[in-house]
Amino acid sequence: MATSLDFEAPLAELEAELNKLKATAGTSEDAGRQVDGLQRKFNERLRTLYSGLTAWQKVQVSRHPQRPLALDYLRLAFSDFTELHGDRRFGDDPAIVGGPACLDGRSVMVVAHQRGHDTRENNRRNFGMPGPEGFRKAQRLFRLAEKLGLPVITLVDTYGANVGVADEERGQIEAIASSIAEMCTLKVPIVSVVIGQGNSGGALAIGVADRILMLEFSVYSVASPEAAAAILWRTAQRASEAAEAMCITAQHMLEFGIADQIIPEPLGGAHRDPTMMALKLRDALGPVVGELLSMGITDLLEARYHRYRNIGLAFVESRVD
């Protein structure tokens, strides 16, 4: 049963009607025409609705329970994914998955946040919020990729890094900082794709890259809108305001030059057609990885350095009052 988002309520009745008609309509030409007509009407309204989503509504879409997650893409867009486990120091964090896989006939290393489609899986994977073991597993896989000369693809989808006593004690801050440091100088191409929400240092810890791609309804933010509202106004209730004010959408990221490319989602969001979304992702990734592989490693690292060194330079000024 598909989960309907609040803002989709105006469409729910029409969708139910359409589904009922599909189930009960016969095979006659007339019935077919009836279904087609209703489908067209529904699609049109869906397109109108999704073309005018607010930032906060995009956050809802990016968190949709049926939205394809990293392991879905690894199944649908990649082949031969072989998951590797553990940070070789303390444990294995299910909020981060990774391992080698094949993309378009080319071996790559994939590292990704993984939440769940249901409560049980979300509890097991801590809603995709990694602890230090997750980031250290990621670093281990980055180094392995470097050793083997495999391009790295990261799929970002997290509320943020986990907050907890044990995480602090095992060095959440060190794990994030060293993950960022590892990616800044990793001697293989890195492509990062934000597939859902990319929040806080927990996103950036696997998000430093030569190219950043974002799905159409994904978001990228310094903190989740709830956390940002709590910091700014001491209440998470104002999350929707924070989402608008902080310009977190994929479209903003493209405008800011943070993202290089937006991958369009199927009509009404990736959750309505995960397979089509996976194919779009695969088709977008192939050329980007190919282009980066054609660059010399020195040029690649120099470009990566300047990419980050220059972020926000347009927003500083030196003036004497």
């Binding site: 060190e174 960022i180 806080s200 310094v222 927003f315």
Partner: protein, 315 residues
């Protein structure tokens, strides 16, 4: 010149007898942890550390400079570098630009970090100090840029780097641009590593979130002041997450030391000596110079050997 001798004169604070004689000297300050009544003069002479329980009060930026750096050695760079408002952030009717101007006026610095060159016990270095009074020391584009430029300066002048952190993390008002400064500062630091110059990170109360999880934890040596709150989540966020009052000592400097995240917890009065000693040890040339100046000429090989834990090179 004996570089090891602490010049205690420089450890007195600006609000002490010499600089503000008009201030009445019969003031008492109450320690928030042990409730001890501390005589103002004693408190100032003690670098704003409670004489009874050793609680370290926050230092103002100017006090940090005076207690840490050689007197008159600091030369500021990028003094007028300021941030603007990348998101046109204005959800409450007060624009972020107005907020910045207000902070600048109140805190007397143009942004939440001050950078430049200085010396500690005669050792030259590049220094960056967070100003917690400026929007909680938070990192936006200007802070990230100033830190990165300080790192660049250390690279171009081949000087060691000291960053003194006191920060609530990335600045929400600058959104994604603030988050990306974590990568900017980290990318810059990699270049300092590449030329073999040491980076000492001094974490003071509080250092959390985006700053803790980037440059502040990446020191070759991480030093913290006693009792400093250091962690990913600030106290308020942590209390919400664990749904209870903050357990004492959680995410403290001492806890971070016990869990291997920092190298040492150093009382305020010993910071100068400790940092200077480390820098001399790390930059062998200065160490050799010092030994030469004290003991006459020391063969370079021997000096190098001493740097390798006392084992002569070639052994």
């Amino acid at each position: 010149m004996d570089l090891f001798r602490r010049r205690s004169r420089h450890l007195s604070l600006p609000s002490g007898e010499s600089t503000t004689p008009e201030e009445p000297d019969n003031l008492w300050i109450r320690c928030p942890t042990c409730s001890e009544q501390i005589y103002e003069r004693e408190y100032v002479d003690n670098l704003r550390v409670c004489p009874k329980c050793r609680f370290h009060f926050k230092l103002a930026l100017s006090e940090r400079f005076e207690t840490l750096l050689d007197e008159g050695s600091f030369e500021e760079v990028d003094r007028y570098l300021r941030g603007t408002d990348p998101l046109h952030f204005n959800p409450d009717g007060q624009s972020y630009m107005d907020k910045l101007a207000e902070c600048e006026h109140k805190s007397d610095t143009s942004e939440a970090v001050v950078t430049g060159t200085a010396s500690i016990e005669g050792v030259r270095l590049v220094v960056a100090v967070n100003n917690f009074a400026f929007l909680g020391g938070s990192m936006g584009v200007a802070v990230g840029e100033k830190i990165a430029r300080a790192v660049d300066l250390a690279v171009s002048r081949r000087l060691p780097l000291l960053v003194v952190s006191a920060s609530g993390g990335a600045r929400q008002q600058e959104g994604i641009f603030a988050l990306m400064q974590m990568a900017k500062t980290t990318a810059a630091l990699a270049r300092l590593s590449r030329i073999g110059m040491p980076y000492i990170s001094l974490l003071t109360d509080p250092t959390v979130a985006g700053v803790a999880a980037s440059y502040a934890l990446l020191g070759d040596v991480n030093i913290a002041e006693p009792g400093a709150y250091i962690g990913f989540a600030g106290p308020r966020v942590m209390e919400q997450a664990i749904r209870q009052k903050l357990p004492p000592g959680l995410a403290s400097a001492e806890s971070m030391l016990a869990h291997g995240m920092i190298d040492m917890v150093v009382p305020r009065a010993e910071l100068r000596g400790t940092i200077a000693r480390l820098l001399r040890l790390f930059t062998g040339a200065s160490y050799t110079q010092r030994r030469e100046s004290r003991n006459g000429s020391v063969p370079h090989k021997l000096a190098a050997g001493l740097l390798n834990g006392g084992v002569a090179v070639g052994d």
